[in-house]
Amino acid sequence: MQKQQIMCKEIESFDFQSGGEASSNLKNILRKLGVNSDLVRKTSIVTYELEMNVVIHSLGGEITALISEEELEIRVDDVGPGIEDLDKAFTPGYSTASNEIREMGFGAGMGLVNVKRYADKLTIESSKENGTHVKVLIKLF
């Protein structure tokens, strides 16, 4: 079965008010599709982490979700400075977030660590010129 798009949402830089909406929307959609609740939880955590990364670190972007009976694909594409050191970004506790962001309760350096933990497959392409492009696959069965 070919994957069908079930959500596409624009995310604005530093928009903490609506940050989290994409993950909530996707959660509701998956519930309506009858996806198992453990997987809904995983997806919710992954999407929220990635969504907040766009809000905190980029100049804005877009989050897209596609689904087939077998698999869920989440794509996050942003315009921004890119991730300077991908290896470091996967080190628990490592964060480039400013003090201001940390005071808001973000930037604990667990974002990508958690994404990697819950994703069945994760690919990241990132450069200064082209922003960051994340693709996460979560197996549904």
Binding site: I29, K32, L33, V40, R41, I67, E69
Partner: protein, 446 residues
């Protein structure tokens, strides 16, 4: 009567105004034919509709005193919150005597089992990793089953204080007497009434029934005037766990014994927000225990109470202060031999309600989802509720599920009428060919 929930509708009083529809946290109400009907599978007995209805059309029917007194051995369990319903100057002993005067053979304080449950909860939290949510408020348990099924594993696998106490009393009677008591709970909310018939985590409830506070409040008051008590007995003799009756009570007991990270949140909409944050991992894992109650201010905010929640909170706080003075001890005992008489653990798994999916077949669900997204695009998005559903998205879902028609939306209907009128007028001006030639002839003549 429905067994899935306890909130009912007085049809003759309902004006069909949609106040309750919009305020329902699970979107369980729809107005049809001018009446606000509750969708059984979605109602969690939070009583928000009872609170929001100006016409008092939503209500709950709890057991009456007469029903309880038909029993050969009626017993009443009193929740901690009940002590907020009276001035702290009226001693607990006096109140319990007044209740017995109404015809109950025995009365018990739920604060006793609440104290035992607090001790067991602390043990559980110290012996288990992870974070847990209190299972004492049945509305919260149902909310999680319905809307946050992935958080079911966080529910503390221990029975509620009421069930613990009722079970213990039944055991005691079995061992000591050859008759069965009928155990009633003096309930501040409809949700506890529902648990009598339908309970999560147990095969069945140990209660016989539940009497709403409002049902016997006046009778208790009248009875209070008649009784006389020796001054030496006229004291509270209550467990410090009476503080459970208000938000943060459970938390304060746990923290009085040991420094433990807890968070207490009350009010169904606030609890929903919190559960959303927990679900997306946005709440610190340091928090070991969440004390959550559906009613603002905790059980004293229950809709079947008579006294307003603020006065009730004050009454309860003063009474707890008095208990501390009488017992000359600020702390609740951290051990009690009696605790071994309780069977704390839930005996059944708590299972998700699973009613939100569009179809059990994935492909069909996908088709319906597409249709749903299309409908949402078409609808005006004003969330006016004039269609009887709380908002356009829910209405769209009703359409997709075959429960509503697009023309139930007055804006869609108007649009369609407008188009119809345009079509009619075009049609009216388009004359049949026979006529048009005649008209042309006439024009030429003139």
């Amino acid at each position: 009567m429905s067994k899935k929930h306890s909130v009912l509708l007085k049809e003759d009083k309902c004006e069909g105004c949609t106040s309750c529809v919009k305020g329902c946290p699970t979107k369980a109400i729809r107005v049809h034919q001018g009446r606000a009907w509750i969708k059984e599978d979605f109602c969690i007995d939070c009583a928000e509709c009872i609170r929001s209805c100006e016409y008092h059309a939503k209500y709950t029917e709890t057991d009456t005193l007469n029903i309880a007194l038909k029993s050969n051995y009626p017993v009443l369990l009193i929740p901690p919150s009940f002590y907020g319903q009276f001035s702290p100057e009226i001693s607990a002993f006096r109140l319990k005597t007044a209740i017995k005067e109404l015809g109950f053979k025995a009365v018990y304080d739920v604060s006793e089992s609440a104290a035992a449950l607090s001790r067991q909860t602390l043990k559980f939290l110290n012996n288990n990793s992870g974070s847990y949510i209190s299972t004492s408020c049945p509305v919260i348990v149902r909310l999680i089953k319905l809307q946050f099924p992935d958080l079911i594993e966080m529910l503390l696998p221990l029975k509620s204080p009421v069930e613990l106490l009722a079970e213990k009393i039944r055991q005691e009677f079995k061992a000591k007497h050859n008759y069965k008591p009928d155990i009633f709970f003096l309930t501040p909310c409809p949700a506890k009434l529902t648990t009598v018939n339908k309970i999560s985590g147990q095969q069945k409830s140990f209660l016989t029934g539940a009497i709403g506070v409002e049902n016997i409040y006046k009778k208790i008051y009248d009875s209070l005037e008649k009784i006389e008590i020796e001054p030496e007995f006229d004291v509270d003799q209550l467990s410090l766990a009476t503080v459970w009756g208000k938000e943060g009570g459970e938390e304060s007991i746990l923290n009085s014994w040991q420094e433990i990270n807890t968070l207490s949140v009350s009010g169904i909409s606030q609890v929903k927000k919190l559960l959303n944050e927990i679900e997306r991992n946005n709440i610190s894992a340091e928090i070991k225990y969440f004390e959550l109650t559906s009613c603002v201010n905790g059980c004293i905010g229950g809709v079947l109470n008579v006294i307003n929640p603020y006065q009730a909170q004050y009454n309860l706080e003063v009474r707890v202060r008095n208990i501390i003075k009488q017992q000359q001890n600020k702390l609740l005992n951290q051990t009690d031999k009696q605790d071994s008489l309780y069977k704390f653990y839930l005996t059944e798994n708590i299972i998700a309600d699973n009613v939100s999916k569009l179809d059990s077949d994935f492909k069909k669900a996908m088709q319906k989802l597409e249709q749903l997204q299309r409908e949402i695009e078409i609808l005006p998005g004003l969330d006016c509720a004039a269609c009887g559903a709380p908002d356009c998205k829910t209405f769209a879902e009703d359409i997709v599920n075959g429960l509503a028609a697009r023309t139930d939306c007055i804006f869609m209907l108007r649009k369609q009428l407008g188009k119809l009128a345009d079509d009619l007028s075009i049609l009216a001006h388009e004359l049949p060919p026979v006529m048009s030639s005649k008209e042309e002839d006439n024009n030429n003549d003139s």
